[in-house]
């Protein structure tokens, strides 16, 4: 026998053992509690639709495991966010039966849940056979879970799968140190952010100091609320828009000014993946955005892996208002396979699958408190000395306490969001001042509200 054969024969059983053990381990992680479903749903096929997200990419490879355990085949389709929203909206509005599980988009929460297009999940959650007690219904962060409930908080329609917490990433810590910025370059206030950007631009103009994608409606409110302004008079009860206020104009000037003066060429048409690519390549400094995008841009072979710093979004005179959004898995009212659909949601959001995704595979936006505090997860999420998981918990606690995200889950938000986007573009492209653009947005919104027969004080 050739020596190498001998060594390989020694290695082979070991490798087999490893694979067997790993396979059995994964099965052990995923299987308990779900085996009872096998037989009841054997041969069932359900259609699940979500928007494209890292969560979907991690979930999809595990669907075979789910099928083995329950006999349910899941056709999981993902689409770009705007396409997904439009198609799902149309499907729900027309009473279509083709979807069994969907992701309830945050900005469509009131619309899809409030209009009665989603199925209450309480009958499943309260049924010990459908949901074992150790599933941990109360383990989901309350600041996120509440958005999956009815307006009065009594009925649950969705299980949150993303903690879309807004943080600030400062990509090039090396240049920030060189520029002598305070607090490692992480700005505490809007003024400090602008000042830091000026210094960084002066130091190296090839790295854009500030960047964001086209979702201005998610980023502008940080400045608006920070300056003491509001989107609505009192959402969801009074939907009179307040975008013609002095605070709204000043906030728009700050945010659009950062994009215009400190953003890279073409920033107004950049998609999220383009922005992430520039941060990842070390071509930009500041990006405040949803957690998973920021963490993914900083990990792996990222050029900023060793220089990136994470902090909270800067504050205005009225405080800090980081956006917190979440998307939930739910069952459309007209699904014909609700039992199997719940089986899938329960499995996908189970502690073990979620822990597997978060700890083993690096999914940052976990929605379970137990995982957020899991030492292994915290270790993964400690990036260049900063406990990002701790920042997430702090931000979530703040959002629950101040409860400032209601503006975003009213049914008319897509309208407001579209007009905010246009106004910010107008200011950043030099077509109008902050006051002009926001006053025009206000009047355009009122015209749209007339079409929708929304009553306002105006």
């Amino acid at each position: 026998m050739h020596p190498t054969d001998s060594s390989s024969s020694r290695l082979a059983p070991s490798r087999r053992r490893f694979l067997t053990t790993a396979g059995a381990g994964t099965a052990a992680i995923l299987a308990p509690g779900f085996l009872h479903a096998k037989g009841r749903f054997d041969g069932t096929t359900i259609n699940a639709s979500m928007f494209s997200h890292g969560f979907v990419n991690l979930l999809r490879p595990m669907l075979g495991q789910f099928k083995d355990e329950t006999g349910i085949t899941v056709n999981l389709v993902d689409k770009a966010f705007p396409i997904y929203n439009q198609q799902t909206d149309l499907e729900l509005a027309t009473g279509g039966t083709s979807l069994d599980v969907i992701s309830i988009s945050f900005i469509y929460t009131a619309r899809w849940i409030g209009t009665g297009w989603m199925e209450p999940l309480d009958p499943f959650l309260n049924n010990a056979e459908a949901t074992p007690a150790d599933w941990g219904r109360n383990d989901f962060v309350e600041a996120l879970q509440k958005y999956g409930r009815s307006a009065d908080g009594k009925i649950t329609y969705g299980i949150p799968w993303e903690a879309g917490v807004w943080l600030m990433a400062a990509g090039r810590g090396d240049l920030m140190d060189k520029a002598g910025l305070a607090n490692g370059g992480l700005p505490a206030s809007f003024d400090e952010l602008r000042e830091n950007c000026r210094k960084l631009k002066a130091l190296d103009a090839s790295v854009a100091p500030f960047i964001n994608d086209t979702t201005h409606h998610a980023n502008y409110p940080i400045y608006l609320q920070g300056l003491g302004g509001q989107v609505f008079k009192n959402a969801p009860d009074n939907l009179t828009p307040l975008l013609n206020s002095p605070q709204a104009a000043a906030a728009a000037e700050i945010y659009a000014g950062l994009l215009r003066d400190m953003g890279p060429q073409g920033v107004l048409s950049m998609r999220t993946d383009q922005v992430a690519g520039l941060l990842r390549g070390g071509q930009t400094h500041y990006w405040h955005y949803a957690l998973p995008w920021l963490v993914n841009a900083a990990k792996g072979d990222s050029a900023i892996a060793r220089t990136v710093r994470f902090g909270e979004v800067p504050a205005g005179p009225s405080g800090k208002f980081p956006s917190v959004v979440t998307h939930s898995l739910g069952i459309p009212k007209y699904s014909r396979k609700k039992g199997a659909a719940w089986e899938f949601i329960r499995w996908a959001m189970s502690p073990k699958v979620q822990r597997h995704m978060a700890v083993e595979q690096g999914y940052a936006a976990t929605t379970r408190t137990s995982i957020l505090r899991d030492p292994a997860f915290v270790k993964n999420m400690t990036i260049n000395g900063t406990n990002v998981a701790g920042l997430v918990e702090k931000t979530l606690a703040g959002s629950e306490k101040k409860d400032y995200m209601n503006y975003r889950i009213v049914s008319v938000f897509p309208i407001i969001g579209g007009h905010i986007n246009s106004a910010i573009q107008k200011i950043a492209s030099g077509q109008a001042s902050g006051a002009e653009a926001m006053a025009k947005a206000q009047s355009d919104i009122l015209v749209d509200f007339k079409k929708n027969q929304i009553k306002t004080d105006a």
Partner: protein, 328 residues
């Protein structure tokens, strides 16, 4: 003879019961039987169902659109599709909708410039390619490429070209120190031009193809006669070629104008109507109203207005062609 033929066509023998029919004498015809037995009636019976089906398929959605425009139909408000209490509310609201009025102006500029440039480019290149050389014959196919590409692919090509972080054009300009050239799609001054350029590139082959077809029908004798009379190439083009293909030019322009109202993928991918509302054409505005805001009734009213404008413009252009024919 004709009558005999009609009798034969209507006889049961033709309908497959010949043996029994031959044995029994034909019963006397009723008035209805006489009508149904005629060629004309048979033809009508055979074609009317198809015609009704076609009418339903083509006019049905348009009719639904018209009816929806008379309601405040909104997918989030059940029953709003049957609310005809204020049938003209959508149309009245348009007068105070600045964004709709702006979209008409944007649409007019996009249509005017893109059609003009497509006609100019199509004509120029067609005149060159009409020269009978092997090289130009092969080039005809190459020039067709933009038109046969799926519109979304065209949009992605221009997205890459206009994006400073990925564009080879911007990279090339950077070599010469031109790092600060504004991105066309995010500049208020250039965004519409960027769409017009993309639209022209995609569709000039269509006008080129039509004009080439028109040029191929120009008799060689007319060239010969003009040359014998001492006309220059420019004079031949102006006095002989253009008058000959003028109707083709008008028809091509009509087609392109109608199509320009439907421009969508380029705007969706490149600018989404922005920055602000600089590239928010009526078609795109209508799409946003329906699919982003759920204002199906209002969006339908916009499309009715758009359809009316297109129809009027088309009728004017067709009258022009007719007038030129009778005048000529």
């Amino acid at each position: 003879m004709m009558a005999a033929s009609r009798e034969h066509a209507a006889s049961p023998a033709v309908l497959g019961t010949g043996r029994r029919a031959a044995a029994t004498p034909l019963p006397p015809r009723s008035a209805l039987g006489a009508v149904l037995g005629s060629d004309r009636a048979f033809m009508l019976l055979a074609t009317v169902p198809c015609a009704i089906w076609l009418l339903v398929m083509t006019l049905g959605p348009a009719l639904f659109n018209l009816v929806a425009s008379l309601t405040p139909m909104n997918l989030t408000r059940p029953g709003s599709g049957w609310d005809f209490s204020q049938p003209f509310a959508n149309y009245l609201l348009m007068r105070e909708d600045d964004l709709f009025l702006n979209s008409l102006w944007v649409q007019a500029r996009l249509s005017f410039w893109s059609v003009l440039l497509q006609m100019a480019m199509g004509l120029g290149i067609a005149l060159i390619l009409n020269i009978q050389t092997p090289l130009y014959q092969r080039l005809r196919t190459v020039f067709l490429v933009p038109m046969v590409l799926p519109p979304i692919v065209v949009a992605v090509i221009w997205k890459v070209l206009y994006d400073p972080s990925t564009s080879p054009l911007y990279w090339f300009m950077g070599l010469f120190g031109l790092d600060d050239v504004a991105s066309m799609t995010t500049s208020a001054d250039w965004a519409l031009t960027a769409i017009i350029i993309g639209e022209t590139w995609e569709w000039f082959p269509f006008t080129m193809l039509m004009i080439l077809a028109g040029l191929s029908t120009l008799p060689e004798e007319q060239y010969e006669a003009a040359r014998i009379d001492g006309a220059s190439t420019l004079q031949i083009t102006w006095e002989v070629v253009l008058p000959h293909i003028s109707n083709v030019l008008i028809v091509a322009a009509i087609f392109r104008m109608i199509d320009s109202f439907k421009a969508f993928p380029l705007i969706y991918v490149l600018t989404s109507g922005g920055p602000g509302h600089v590239t928010d054409t009526t078609n795109f505005y209508s799409y946003r109203q329906a699919f982003e805001y759920s204002f199906i009734g209002y969006s339908s009213a916009i499309t009715v207005v758009l359809l009316s404008i297109t129809t009027v413009l088309s009728i004017i252009a067709l009258k022009l062609v007719k007038w030129r024919r009778t005048d000529g």
